[in-house]
């Protein structure tokens, strides 16, 4: 029986490149494998994706061109369990950064980046179409005197499903008497897609340009629709003016409720469960606020899934996965919807455009349960519109 020897020559130059690209993030890992054990891919695939091996290769300075580095949704579940607090996301996006240099990236991703470059959004649509989401309503241009800048993001502007969320948010802001405006056609893309896909150099250019633009426009408090945009502005963008205060809309709604500018007086009888977006709960510790908003609506009965709050199960859309194919039968959102159906809730409430898309894509898995997916802003808007007599709440989500 011959002994198999997988010998690899380790090179200094290669090690330096990998170390640079990953910012040395792989160093603290001592290869316990807890990351691999918790990674949600293990729930949908026959074989778990070995996160441990990817980190090991990075430690040794071996660039990884495997398909596996592109599977990561950057949900950070692994990081939440890692005993050495390894920044696993940074290792993986660092490996992706190298992959770009070597042009070893999945098909479709270069096209996506060109779309962002030429069109300024991930959907490849003209900037002039950004304001179309306001059809039938009036939303003004942002002025520095406004309470807040409402930052739409690409999905809320261009995706018909998410436009409904934006419109719901507008009615909430108006009901609260908030003065707000948007950047209209000039709204720049936040850069999350570029960050997720690992193109650090391009991301730097985006952040530099946009940060200066926000400063010149006099942006102070900005409220985002998407947790991904929020995460970018809160954690990656510099505070150039000293006054830059990005918020996710769930945080802002709670502020409005607490200061009694926004009140829910009518009953909205609805049994709901709340799906925490990774980028809000695990990444940014925002999991109380959405619940408090929900619970300030009379009639709402909130039941929790087991994997909730900071232990939420990823919908599968982060890490650039929205722009890659996920085979049917391998979708985290299928599991999530089943979990939601088991709570007996009528509605899964969430607060992220990617989560909405992924969860709605998995509705067929719970067909017959009557379960719907709604954004928190949509539920809150329904609460404002509810009459005193128990009325049938209209669904704005897809059946």
């Amino acid at each position: 029986m011959s002994r198999r020897t997988d010998s690899v020559l380790l090179e200094d130059e290669s090690w330096e490149r990998v170390d640079n690209a990953t910012g040395g993030a792989a160093a603290p890992c001592f290869q316990c494998g807890v990351c691999t054990a918790i990674c949600p891919w293990g729930l949908v695939k026959n074989e778990a994706v070995s996160v441990r091996k990817m980190i090991r290769k990075a430690q040794l300075g071996l660039p990884d061109w495997s398909k596996d580095i592109w599977l990561c949704t950057t949900c950070q579940w692994c990081e939440s369990r890692c005993p050495h607090e390894v920044d696993i996301t940074k290792v993986i996006t660092g490996l992706r950064r190298l992959a770009w240099k070597e042009r070893e990236v999945p098909h479709g991703l270069p096209t996506l980046l060109w779309d962002v470059y030429f069109d300024g959004n991930t959907l490849g649509r003209p900037p002039s179409e950004r304001p179309l989401w306001t059809k039938g309503i009036t939303v003004k241009e942002f002025s520095p005197k406004d309470d807040i800048l409402l930052y739409l993001g690409d999905d809320a502007a261009y995706d018909r499903r998410i436009q409904k969320v934006a419109r719901a948010l507008v009615s909430l802001l108006e009901a609260a008497g908030v003065t707000f405006g948007t950047l209209g056609e000039r709204e720049p893309t936040c850069g999350d897609a570029v960050r997720a896909l690992g193109h650090e150099e391009y991301l730097t250019e985006i952040i530099d340009t946009n940060a200066r633009f926000f400063k010149e426009a006099g942006v102070k408090t900005m409220v985002t629709v998407s947790p991904h945009c929020y995460d970018m502005f809160a954690n990656r963008y510099p505070n150039l003016s000293g006054d830059f205060r990005p918020l996710h809309y769930t945080q802002y709604l709670l502020e409005l409720i607490t200061s009694e500018r926004l009140k829910f007086e009518n009953e909205l009888p609805m049994k709901v469960t709340y799906h925490d977006p990774c980028y809000l709960s695990r990444r940014n510790d925002v999991f109380d606020e959405p619940r408090q908003v929900l619970q300030s609506i009379p009639g709402i009965e909130l039941v929790e899934m087991e994997r909730s709050g900071q232990d939420t199960l990823c919908c599968g859309g982060g890490g650039g996965r929205m722009w890659m194919e996920t085979a049917a039968g391998e979708r985290f959102s299928d599991l999530r919807m089943q979990e939601a159906a088991e709570t007996g809730a009528e509605v899964v409430v969430t607060s992220c455009p990617h989560c909405i898309s992924c969860l709605e894509d998995s509705l067929s898995v719970v067909a017959g349960s009557g379960l719907r997916v709604l954004d928190l802003a949509e539920v809150a808007q329904m609460a404002l519109q509810a009459q005193d007599a128990p009325a049938k709440a209209t669904a704005s989500g897809r059946a």
Binding site: K101, G108, T111, Y202
Partner: protein, 268 residues
């Protein structure tokens, strides 16, 4: 296998979905329309860069247009091209495809030695697809149009490509030098290398030539050099469609639909 001198001819065009017609003046409003690199030309660039990676050599760009093309050419240098030439002169304006292909062919002659000229199959604005064969004829070079791929043969003297036909495809081989027009979508254009982009923007070799710089005969360029003229414009008539929306359950809608299309189909 010897290194190749490859030239890519490309164009910057207005984004088609943004072009509007001013109904009063009957002209095309380009003022606020954004531009893009003609998509098949991006595929042409990608092919050229792949060939350079495989065989060695250089990739040079050639374009005919106004000074604003300069920044776009630098983006392509950032993708990996080596140098760019921009033919820019008021005298080129109004050129139809005969004058355009003549001008580009002369630009190519001025650029020096070449083995392969790669173009996108057609541009999204004019969409005539005539410039590549035109260039080939002026240069007396071989041509392969509607290529889906390209292979340089080991002796470095000919190229082979699969090309689209009306009802199928064929594989042809032609001697170099050759002009190849590439089908849109034949490959995926790589994204820029940002280190290279910094170089391209600061000191990338982009040379602008006027008609005089390449010694062109004024009678062959621009409006003067164009046998075809636009004798008129009109608004395209919009087809008057019924736009009748059906409603009801799927079964009801299906039945309504059947009633309406009965006369268009044969039912035994």
């Amino acid at each position: 296998m010897r290194p190749l001198n490859i030239i890519v001819c490309l164009k910057v065009v207005p984004k088609p979905e943004e072009v509007k017609v001013n109904q009063e003046t009957m002209t095309i409003e380009r003022a606020n329309v954004r531009s893009e690199i003609n998509p098949p030309d991006m595929n042409a660039v990608e092919l050229a860069l792949e060939l350079k990676e495989k065989h060695g050599g250089t990739v040079s760009l050639l374009s005919m247009g106004p000074p604003l093309f300069d920044s776009y050419l630098r983006l392509i240098l950032a993708m990996g091209a080596d140098r760019a030439y921009l033919l820019s002169d008021r005298a080129f304006a109004g050129a139809d495809t005969l004058a355009t292909s003549y001008t580009l062919a002369e630009g190519i002659r001025k650029m020096g030695e070449y083995d392969l000229i790669i173009c996108g199959e057609e541009s999204s604005d004019g969409a005539t697809a005539q410039v590549p064969p035109g260039i080939a004829e002026w240069l007396e070079a071989s041509q392969i149009t509607y290529a889906e791929d390209l292979e340089v043969l080991p002796d470095g003297q000919s190229v082979k490509a699969r090309r689209e036909l009306a009802g199928g495809y064929e594989v042809v081989q032609v001697p170099l030098p050759a002009v190849v027009s590439l089908k849109v979508g034949a490959n995926e254009p790589r994204f820029m290398d940002f280190d290279r982009k910094t170089w391209a923007e600061a000191e990338g070799p982009v040379t602008t030539w006027s008609a005089q710089d390449i010694g062109l005969d004024e009678g062959y360029i621009g409006l003067q050099g164009s046998p075809t003229i636009v004798s008129g414009v009109a608004m395209a008539p919009s087809a008057e469609r019924r736009r009748e929306f059906l409603s009801g359950t799927p079964e009801e809608e299906a039945q309504q639909l059947l009633e309406r299309i009965r006369s268009s189909i044969r039912l035994d």
